[in-house]
Each structure stands twice: as C-alpha cells, then as structure tokens.
C-alpha cells in the first residue's frame, strides 16, 4: 500500500517537508487547523489558545491522567491566508530543541481532495535529526489510545 504521508528529509539539511493528500475539500482540511475543538481531537492535546490571524499566537498543553503536564508547546502566527497558508513558529516548552519555523500550504486538488505541504525549518541539522529521533513509538501509542477515545465518543 502506498504511504499517504510522505516525509522528505535530506541528509545534513536543517529542514524537512511533510506532504499528505486528504480526501477532504481544502476548506475542511483548513478548518481542522483553525477550530480549537477539532485540533484537540486529532492532535490529542488541549488547545489553550489559538489565534488565527497574523501576529496571533497559539498554545497547546497535554496532561497525563494524573494532571501532570507531559507536553506543552507554543508559537506565533506570521501569516494566515484562509484555505491557503499558515506560517507559524513552534516551540516545545522545557525541551532543548529551540524554536522551529513551519510553512503550511493548503492546496485544492479537486472539489473533494486537497493536499497539505508542511515545510519545517529547524535551527540546525543536528536539531532536526534530534527531533526525528525522539522516542516516537511512545507518542504513537498515546495517539492510538486517544484515537480509540475519540472514536468511542462518536459512537
């Protein structure tokens, strides 16, 4: 089966691109990035703040069942063009990764399909590779459990 999500991370470079084609109109894809309740569901994190405008800022936070903060991130929006483009920064709190710059381009393919092109620029190639090497298996398991929760709620 062809992989829907593609990562292009050239060796020794400080950036990468993530590309994905969705069976969704571009307006719905874009909405998934701008409505806090929806972002919370697919990102599996609480949205404390999400200002969809130039010079707006955002803040996400994830707590474990005991109320301990396990993930916190924030950033600023630099460009916001509905259904087309979001340029923003991303920084994880209490992590040695420094801020990263994200260019999100939303592209209409047909009336029912769209493509997201995410270009992420890190401060150094080493920081990029460190991000890639995070123990993501853990994250995937967490995401999987949350997916189950979301699906159960929908039933």
């Amino acid at each position: 089966m062809e992989k829907k999500t593609k990562i292009d991370a050239e060796n020794g470079k400080q950036d990468l691109t993530i590309t994905r084609v969705f069976e969704l109109p571009v307006e719905l894809l874009f909405k998934a990035y701008t409505e806090a309740e929806i972002v919370e569901q697919w990102m599996g994190t609480k949205v404390l703040k999400l200002e969809n405008k130039k010079h707006g800022s955002w803040q996400f936070e994830t707590k474990d069942p005991h109320g301990n903060v396990v993930f916190k991130a924030n950033g600023t929006v630099h460009e916001f063009i509905p259904d087309q483009k979001i340029t923003r920064t991303f920084e994880m709190d209490n992590a040695p990764f420094d801020v990263q710059l994200e260019f999100l381009e939303f592209e209409k393919l047909t009336n029912d399909t769209s493509r997201l092109n995410m270009h992420v620029v890190y401060r150094t190639p080493e920081l990029r590779d460190q991000m890639l090497k995070l123990p993501f298996e853990y994250g995937i398991n967490m995401a999987h459990n949350r997916l189950q929760e979301v699906l159960n709620k929908l039933k």
């Binding site: 992989k3 999500t5 990562i7 069976e23 998934a32 890639l132 090497k133 993501f136 994250g139 999987h144």
Partner: protein, 106 residues
C-alpha cells in the same frame, strides 16, 4: 534500542556523515579516508571506530591493508529512521481525515 540510538548519534555528526558518503563510493583504507579530511588522523580513526561499532561500516582485511566498506544492510535501517516520525504524522492525519469526514456529514 540502545544500538538504534547509537546509530542515530553516529549519523548526527557531519564528519561521520561525510565519511559514510565517501566510503559509499568505494571501499578504502583509513589512511585514504583521513586524507580526504582536514581533521587530525586520530580524530578520523575515532569516527571510523564509532561507525564500525554501530555496524555502519565493515572492516575487511586485504593483504596488509584494512579496507572500510559500507554495511548496506545497516544503512537501510538508518534510512528508515524517519519511519516512526512519518508514522506519527500519518496517524494524526488519518485521525484528522476521519474527524472531518464526519464533520462533513453533519
């Protein structure tokens, strides 16, 4: 798991990446490898040792010389090191797609 991490550390270093690229073109001795870098020879030896320990390079005796080869099998593992990262985004995007398809129906 530790071994995997070691491989990541190995390729995080720019000189070691350059060595891998160089040796990928053809097998060569430590001396020839070192002559391609401004770095002091003991430093290059240290890099070779690390690359050999995590099995990205293989040593082969040829007469009196030891040649370094790329371990293709191991390099393939490294090429896959992006996979968990990719899988994480795939999972998120699948979820996004499911949620929004449902949204459309509302």
């Amino acid at each position: 798991m530790n071994l995997r991490r070691d491989v990541f550390q190995a390729i995080a270093d720019p000189t070691r990446r350059a060595i891998l690229l160089l040796v990928a073109t053809q097998a060569m001795t430590a001396g020839v490898i070192a002559s391609n870098f401004d770095t002091a020879r003991p430093t290059v030896s240290k890099h070779l040792q690390i690359l050999t320990e995590c099995e990205l390079l293989k040593q082969e005796q040829n007469g009196r010389e030891i040649y370094y080869h790329i371990n293709a099998e191991r390099m393939k593992d490294v090429a896959d090191f992006i996979e968990p990262f990719r899988a994480m985004w795939e999972e998120r995007f699948n979820k996004l797609e499911d949620i929004m398809k449902n949204y459309k129906g509302n």
